[in-house]
């Protein structure tokens, strides 16, 4: 089973040179730590920044410079600031190549639920619905099962949906899976020490296994 950092590390291998990327809150934010130095990518923050830098040193904290998670951040050389309409113009217009975000559930046709649990206080969808409706490539980072042990990879989402047929790939603590255009989770890689049988048992949506499933390799 992968740790959160290992999930982030595995997702970082999906990043390609020259990409503009939006990272959601939680595990996706950790991905930034594992992007190889030889790749030039730009991180977008939907509150109005391209080129998110590292967290500031204490003496450089600026309340007028935060990311979409409201954390204080810094800029890089070549960063650019803009307003919220421009930010979502970028997202909606397909200029952001890759969105990495968390999920409560993913269905076998790529639907995602991550904003609302009936009966609980709803905090809002923020920018998630815009992101999943627009990005060319959407990768979900999440635990394979909920805390109560239920699979989060389902035939259909049971929670209110954030977006339909949008998730392309899932990296969980157990596996890397692609969403088939015709439906189903194609098992691409296993976490070290995790068997295909365990993944089968913990995936309630249709699981597609094509030949030998390799273990993930970490550098």
């Amino acid at each position: 089973m992968l740790s959160k950092n290992q999930i982030a590390q595995r997702i970082a291998k999906e990043v390609k040179n020259g990409q503009y990327i939006n990272l959601g809150i939680g595990i996706p934010t950790l991905v930034a730590n594992y992007i190889p130095d030889n790749l030039e990518v730009v991180l977008q923050s939907e509150n109005g920044l391209l080129g998110i830098g590292p967290f500031p040193k204490e003496e450089n904290v600026d309340p007028d410079l935060i990311n979409a998670g409201k954390q204080t951040i810094t800029m890089l050389k070549g960063s650019v600031l803009f307003n919220s309409a421009e930010s979502f113009a970028m997202i909606r217009g397909g200029h952001v190549h890759l969105t990495i975000l968390g999920a409560m559930e993913v269905s076998e046709n790529g639907d995602i639920s991550n904003w609302k649990i009936p009966g609980k206080m709803v905090k809002g969808m923020g920018g998630a619905m815009d992101l999943v409706a627009s990005a060319k490539n959407i990768i979900v980072a999440m635990q394979h099962c909920s805390k109560s042990g239920d699979s989060k990879l389902l035939p259909e989402c049971t929670l209110p949906i954030t977006g339909v047929r949008c998730v392309k790939k899932i990296v969980s603590d157990l596996a890397v899976l692609e969403v088939s255009p015709t439906g189903g989770f194609i098992l691409k890689e296993r976490a070290p020490g995790v068997s295909v049988e365990e993944i089968m048992a913990k995936t309630s949506g249709k699981l597609i296994i094509e030949g030998e499933v390799p273990e993930m390799v970490f550098d």
Partner: protein, 231 residues
Amino acid sequence: MINKTVKDALEAVADIPTGAFLMMGGFGLSGIPENCISALLQRDIKDLTIVSNNAGVDDFGIGLLLKKRMVKKMISSYVGENAEFERQLLQGELEVELIPQGTLAERVRAGGAGIPAFFTPAGVGTEVAEGKEIREFDGKHYLMETALKADFSIIKAWKGDTAGNLIFKGTARNFNPIMAAAGKICIAEVEELVEVGGLDPNQIHTPGIYVQRIFQGKDYEKRIEQRTVSN
């Protein structure tokens, strides 16, 4: 140039009535109109509808207006961590309309730009789409969303001139420029108010045509929600 200056926040918000439809700039607690919020707290008005991406925290920003029970309805994308907000909502004392952040931004932009409606992919297949027209363009489905306009938009900028031209700083820009244009009356508070000619015409983010009132605010706290530092 037309002079838009008013004396202070109290004068700027003096005629906002009970039941007004407001927009307030800011993302989280960054770039919020602190002075105008303080001034509104001194007004005996209520039943406000407020369009704002977030709803502040318990003891700062819009949270203060909520605590004083001045707000009837929030229109936001994410209402965050706010115990009083949650209490009022669960008690049915407060209405909330949640809108995807990009749709919110574009609806506000459309309101200022004279575009009554537009199509967006955000929310297709979700409960956000309920009751909305869905249309296909180039094989993809989109929702029709309508423009948002406000009686008053209340925003915060970094620098401004007496003609209402504004420059924002960092990510405190966020919703402020688009809300400026979407308010019938836009009230802008700025950290530094300069004479006309004091700003480079090529670097102005919000043209003064959108701003009806401007004043230099004071005592900005600029509270930080998530102070994250590196070692």
